[in-house]
Amino acid sequence: MASSKSLTRSGSGKVRRVVVVGGGLAGLMTVIKLCEAGVPVALFSLVPVKRSHSVCAQGGINASVNTKGEGDSPQVHLEETVYGGDFLANQPPVKGMCDAAPSIVYMLDRMGVPFNRTPEGLLDFRRFGGTLFHRTAFAGATTGQQLLYALDEQVRRWETVDVEDERGERVPGEKMVKKLEWWDFLGFVVDDEGVCRGIVAQDTKTMAIESFAGDAVCLATGGCGIVFGRSTNSVINTGTAASAAYQQGACYANGEFIQVHPTAIPGADKLRLISESVRGEGGRVWVPRDLKERRAGREVPESQREYFLEDKYPGYGNLVPRDIASRELFKKCFHEKRGVFNAASGTNENEVYLDVTHIPRETLHKKLAGVLEIYEKFVGEDPYVNPMRVFPAVHYTMGGLWVDFDRAANGSLVIGSPRNQATSIPGLYACGEVEYQYHGANRLGANSLLSCLWGGLVTGPAIATYRQNVGKSAFDMPSSLFDKAQRREQKKYDAVLAMNGSENPYALHEELGQTMLVDCTIERHNPTLDRVLAKIEEIDERSKRVGVTDTATGKMNQGAQFVRHLQNMIVLARVIALGAKNRDESRGAHFKPEFTQRDDANFLRTTLAFHAGATNGSPNGVRYAREFDYALAGKAVHVTDAVDISLVKPRPRKYETAGAASAAAQPGSEPPRDAPGPAKTGATA
């Protein structure tokens, strides 16, 4: 059948490409692996790829290289990641990621990432949350930026490489990567059999809407922090693509799991992250013992300071996982009203101190300059001298598009299997923060860059295999299929342009964000969540009476584009809030004061959400499933919400005890030298 035809060129001479949407780390890594497998790619990105949100990652990337001779290993990394995620992650993909981590960091090193070095010229590693080991490779405090640039450079190189067909003949004018920047993803082209055959996207410079064929599509469009209004996320992280995929039938998993990072700088436009690496390098969190303390932080004597994380969690101290640290900071400020006094406002603000003033300036400069510079620029205070004032902020989307994996006999993944990273829509793949797979209920610091890269390394080969067996290529399908999808999206956009109601979309987004931020983050109460859901319905209703702020056609129109993103954010907000409502337990980042315990009997399972569509009379309803089938190469694959816990048995988390996060750290191996408290690495709960 397909064997007689060219896999590179269609009958009409078009290069058969795979579509990758998203130019952050995950998307770029996928592109690179596809190119290496000889698959030409069309890469779409909302912004020039060098400006993607990966650029914001500061602290580093985890890899158990054990440079410091502490007895670290990929097995310990696996166990600590699963434990940190409160056992909600399927374990085989995590094992694959942790096993590959050292080789991933080495590959980045070969690309020229300027990682910090040891005196011997090896890669240096520092500590991060949820572990006692030095496992995090870093390039100053702008590691994400450096990684993104390295991949951007490699993709740019592929942009200069000619496409060759099977016979090694060059296809004139065609390069391996065709980059389409400033394009906003609108939806998929899906054929009558439900197979994804391409995308519809909009050129944000001209607002022209076009459809594009793709022999497979990969979404790598990041998280949805902007649903919460202000967060540590870039303003482009609205989750619009994930929401569109969900509305076109893709399963969305564990939506309720949203990570709140403990340390950020409050701001009116954004909550700027102060990296966990600050604590990894010895930064300490404290509040004054005296509620009425009025002195500036640096003048409060040691005896008058309460290091509340170190006191409560002697095992991991300031490096407890983010969910725990955020709850403790929240408790200190909101329940105990112990936030520090602010001379400018004259009141106790909801802020605590994050202190690095005891660390030598030279060390700070070499390892943390990038992040301390952000504090200095935006707060106007010198963090080398004054303890920083910080508060938790929405940071990472653990949930996301549901994706599959193919478990190998050794407990890891079958690389090259088309099941890996496949969504529930045939032909649609997802990797990076947009999918749900690696972090369970709570992500460990410095695992996000890793999961993006690993996701790309797995998705590339998975798509290459899928493409070999796709049967009919999207490039041989009738143009009417693509025209129809294009008309569908054009109609939707024209409807937005015609909206002339009284509601301002930006003000409406602020209301949505405020509701989600206040009532659907660190502490979740069921009665409050009912109010959140009612508020979402109200906002949804009012969003139909929006007045588009810009009616320009044929040129950049951010006003109309934002209305679309807002509509899509409202849909995701519902998935997040309803998921939270339904999960009557506390697990990782999801905490309900009425149900403080983890309930494995009832809730050790993945939340699987489907858009109910207009079919059951509730146009925006969510349908939760315990199981479903999806088609892969024409065969049904059965999926349930059971979590694969075949490698590490669930047990309660106890970060009070050093070493509790991993049973595999070998007894007798040399314990980490500067770990706080008694370093009993063999101890388990």
């Binding site: 020039p48 949100h53 650029v55 690309m111 910090n116 090896l122 702008t142 620029k377 702020t549 040129k555």
Partner: protein
């Protein structure tokens, strides 16, 4: 009291590429730690000019809001910089009008948005990458000294924002000078042990027309760079390397 305080903005607007520009003035409420971005966001929520005219909100580009992505660069009070880190209290402490204009060295897309594609194209020209054999396991990269890392890291923080091109008198419509940013990348990749294996290709790319020779040594770039990249040193270093290569080329002929 504090809530009464306002911020005044004067914005240069342009509806599309190649169209005439015009000015709008806005007055928005002041708040603590306010930056130019939050002033522009306030206009989105209430797009009315100071003289009461309802208009389309100002169009600008932004993403990370923490001065690491480079998107939100514009000319603020006559100087190219990122609008996220332009704090209102620092640039207009006395309440004077803040003037916002698009950068002038790139084509305007709309209002304050410009198209900086040429900078990314220049990165292709200078082959700003390490030539990897493959993306599979090949063991660790070359060992490097701490000193080398400390030289390379600051160079690699360039976020392609365009401030250096905006400030450079040699970058203009009548010249094809590549500008400081790409030259800095030549130095960066030629410093890397594997990158250096292809140093000649990168030098060749900046030896001819529009190359390093185009620098007029005004040294504005290093002043304009928000990341304090030693651009003048980079240009000088690339200049020396190209001279050496040129001389060697003659000697070997």
């Amino acid at each position: 009291m504090a809530s009464e305080r306002t911020v005044k903005l004067k914005v240069k607007r342009q509806d599309g590429p190649g169209l005439a520009h015009y000015w709008h003035e806005f007055t928005v409420p002041w708040h603590p730690r306010m930056n130019v971005i939050s002033a522009l966001m306030a206009i989105q929520k209430s797009p009315v000019t100071s003289d009461g005219q309802k208009v389309t909100p100002v169009v600008w580009e932004c993403s990370c809001l923490e001065e690491v992505c480079g998107s939100c660069t514009m000319v603020i009070g006559g100087r190219a910089r990122q609008s996220c880190s332009a704090l209102v209290d620092q640039i207009a402490p006395d309440g004077k009008t803040i003037v916002l204009e698009p950068m002038t060295k790139f084509p305007v897309v709309r209002d304050l948005v410009v198209d900086r594609s040429r900078m990314f194209e220049d990165l292709k020209r200078v082959k700003a990458w390490v030539d990897l054999d493959g993306f599979h396991e090949l063991g660790p990269g070359p060992r490097q000294s701490q000193e080398n890392q400390e030289t390379a890291y600051p160079l690699s923080r360039c976020m392609t924002c365009g401030c250096c091109l905006e400030a450079c008198p040699q970058v203009n419509a009548a010249s094809d000078f590549i500008g400081p940013a790409a030259l800095n990348q030549v130095r960066l990749f030629n410093l890397h042990p594997s990158g250096a294996m292809h140093a000649g290709d990168r030098l060749d790319a900046v030896m001819g027309e529009g190359g390093v020779e185009g620098c007029g040594k005004a040294q504005n770039c290093v002043e304009a760079c928000p990341k304090e990249i030693p651009l003048v040193d980079s240009i000088a270093s690339v200049g020396r390397a190209t001279t050496k290569r040129m001389l060697l080329g003659w000697l070997l002929k």
